[in-house]
């Protein structure tokens, strides 16, 4: 399926490089640091879990590397390409071609069916209909939702919705999937199933996964673990350990 095995020969290539990222907010007259001088890189095939308590700057960091927000200082490179100088339109193209996103609240489009939600990124890329249908069918099969393809998000359970979101994140063959608290709205058993799925897809597709979570249970899936505390990044156990080869 997709880019998986084709690109696995490039395992270990640097895909994402964040250099000295700082993000501040103004609260009244005060400057609040959400991130301070954070540097980070991710290689192809990595499965990285970023831990940290609420308010530590995890989501801010994820937003910056997902190029949906811009840093106050520092630079995010994707495939050695600086992003700070790119226009909104160029960043949108970057997001739709190279980055897949999984949200804590699933963020599916409520008026579209499961299959149509998965199809959405391919429509943005103006892929031909036969290709879209084939990829949607394959991805839904891979996340175990072939039978529920026509259901609307409101007709799916939390775990099923998150699986649709994962399929949507992977459908256009991104290099990196960024997941923000993907298990936070799921019970522990469903959360485990979702993490198992992400890990399997990481191995099979050779796609880099970066998962932000405050749930310590998720850390055991990490090939590499990073901790953010008070806006600073600390490498944790498993530092530098790549995901197992497929």
């Amino acid at each position: 399926m997709g880019h998986g095995s084709q690109f696995c020969h490039a395992r270990g290539a640097k895909l994402l490089d964040a250099q000295r990222l700082t993000k501040t907010y103004r609260v009244g007259t005060e400057t609040v640091y959400a991130l301070r001088d954070v540097s980070f890189s991710a290689l192809q095939g990595d499965f990285i879990v970023i831990n940290g308590p609420s308010g530590s700057g995890k989501t801010t960091f994820l937003n910056l590397i997902a190029v949906i927000d811009r840093p106050t200082a520092g630079e995010v490179f994707i495939e050695n390409q600086a992003t700070s100088t790119q226009s909104e339109g160029q960043l949108a193209v970057l997001r739709k071609t190279k980055i897949g996103l999984v949200f804590q609240s699933f963020n599916l489009i409520p008026v579209l069916s499961a299959a149509e939600n998965v199809e959405y990124p391919l429509l943005l890329q103006r892929r031909p209909k036969p290709e879209r249908e084939e990829r949607v069918r394959a991805l839904l099969a891979e996340v175990g939702l072939s039978d529920l393809a026509r259901r609307r998000p409101s007709e799916l359970s939390g775990g099923q919705r998150q699986r649709v979101a994962i399929a949507r994140a992977l459908v256009s063959g991104p290099m990196i999937v960024l997941a923000d608290e993907p298990t936070a709205n799921l019970d522990s058993k469903t959360g485990e199933a979702v993490m198992d799925l992400m890990r399997r897809l990481n191995e099979e597709h050779c796609v880099t996964f970066i998962v932000v979570t405050h749930d310590p249970a998720v850390s055991r899936y990490a090939g590499r673990r990073v901790r953010i505390h008070d806006g600073r990044l600390e490498e944790g156990e498993g530092d530098g350990v790549a995901a197992p080869a497929s």
Partner: protein, 403 residues
């Protein structure tokens, strides 16, 4: 998602969509009804104006420009023939008749009244007013000193069929002349003032009284009102080439009342359309802004997935385009039903200054329907610009934070 996402978003929020559609449809329907009513009134006035003036009249420029010295504007038989020959070449030409108008003093022995006498060719097919007789008859070819007087004048001077009146006038040579006339009939007309001032007499007798064989105008009737301007242009060009000072004037040129009324109707419709459009604009703006606020997170999501600002704008704008299109179409349908119902009721109305009731109605044609349709469409699309622009300019990260 092409057309799917906007349509499904509209379907998902059915109550809001129905409200928007109702607002657009009602606005369109009311505009259409008002326009249809004004168009019908204008049409009726147009018809009666053409009945009164003909499609066009040909006269000397001296008469049209009030530059006459005595009766030096008269048209004599050779020029009259030249005009009618030219008119006979026109396919829409139905007929023409000549008139000779003159001011006079009408006396009954007890009372006098200033009048305008119109010498007409009796039983002509163009303009003889015989159909308006309420007592007696219209003028006939055999008549000589016969008069066809208005109802208001007859009431004022206590005239009836067979009454004898004396008309005093000045001949073309400046001499005084007077002649008794027998009232052959009494006519009614939609204009009270016209009824009181105008009497019709046979043209030949009028010429004899004025001591001339000339006429002051040639009244032309065409098959359709639409043919008026093209025929008038061609006739004007031909008369100019012939070197005469005869000039055609069209019915709407001849009736300042119609021109004023047409301008008034246009202004009235423009004002009402504007008021309705503003109302539609602000209601749809409100509804769409609310929709945009409710869907902030969804906008954040699709932007995060790589949808560009332009695509988000297109998405929201196309939702409004569907609303505008469907609402305007429904409005035209609703307007047609309203017009049908109104025409079926057949309300009678007596306009101020007139003596005869007429049936109020509304008249719609495809081109009439296009105006309110286009105005509603434009108002709805314009109202979508602001929320669509706001939606496209949302910062992704902020939109995603909204619960």
């Amino acid at each position: 998602m092409g057309w799917r996402l906007p349509l499904r978003s509209l379907w998902r929020n059915r109550r809001r969509t129905l409200l928007s559609l109702a607002v657009v449809a009602l606005g369109t329907a009311v505009s259409l009804f008002v326009l249809g009513f004004l168009e019908n009134s204008r049409f009726q006035i147009q018809e009666s104006t053409v009945q009164e003036y003909g499609n066009l009249q040909v006269a000397s420029s001296k008469l049209w420009n009030n530059e006459a010295d005595g009766y030096d504007y008269l048209i004599f038989p050779s020029d009259e023939e030249r005009v009618t020959s030219q008119l006979r070449t026109e396919s829409g030409y139905r007929g023409s008749t000549s008139e000779l108008q003159f001011p006079g003093l009408l006396g009954t022995g007890r009372e006098t009244q200033v009048i305008r006498a119109i010498g007409i060719e009796p039983e002509n097919e163009v303009l003889d007013f015989a159909g308006y007789a309420v007592a007696g008859r219209g003028l006939e070819r055999a008549d000589t000193a016969a008069a066809f007087v208005g109802r208001t004048l007859a009431e004022k001077l206590s005239l009836s069929v067979g009454s004898v009146i004396m008309v005093t006038l000045t001949t073309v040579d400046g001499a005084y002349n007077a002649s008794p006339f027998t009232v052959a009939g009494i006519y009614k007309y939609s204009n009270e003032r016209f009824e009181q001032q105008v009497i019709f007499v046979p043209l030949a007798f009028a010429q004899r009284l004025l001591n001339t064989d000339g006429v002051d105008r040639i009244v032309v009737l065409l098959d359709t009102i639409e043919a008026t301007n093209p025929v008038a242009s061609r006739l004007a060009a031909a008369l100019e080439t012939d070197g005469t000072d005869l000039v055609p004037r069209t019915w709407d040129d001849l009736s300042p009342f119609y021109r004023q009324l047409a301008s008034y109707f246009n202004a009235l419709f423009a004002f009402l359309s504007l008021a309705i459009s503003i109302l539609v604009f602000f209601i749809i703006l409100q509804v769409q802004t609310l929709a945009f606020l409710e869907r902030t997170r969804e906008i954040g999501t699709i932007r995060a997935l790589g949808t560009t600002q332009r695509e988000v704008f297109g998405l929201f704008f196309s939702e409004s385009a569907w609303l505008a299109l469907l609402g305007s179409c429904m409005g035209v349908g609703l307007g047609a039903v309203l017009v049908g119902a109104f025409n079926a009721i057949g309300i009678q109305w007596l306009p101020p200054g007139t003596i005869e009731e007429f049936t109020l109605g509304a008249r719609i044609e495809v081109k009439t329907a296009l105006v309110p349709f286009a105005v509603s469409l434009a108002a709805t699309l314009l109202s979508a610009l602001y929320p669509a622009t706001q939606a496209s300019r949302l910062r992704v990260v902020e939109a995603l934070r909204i619960e």
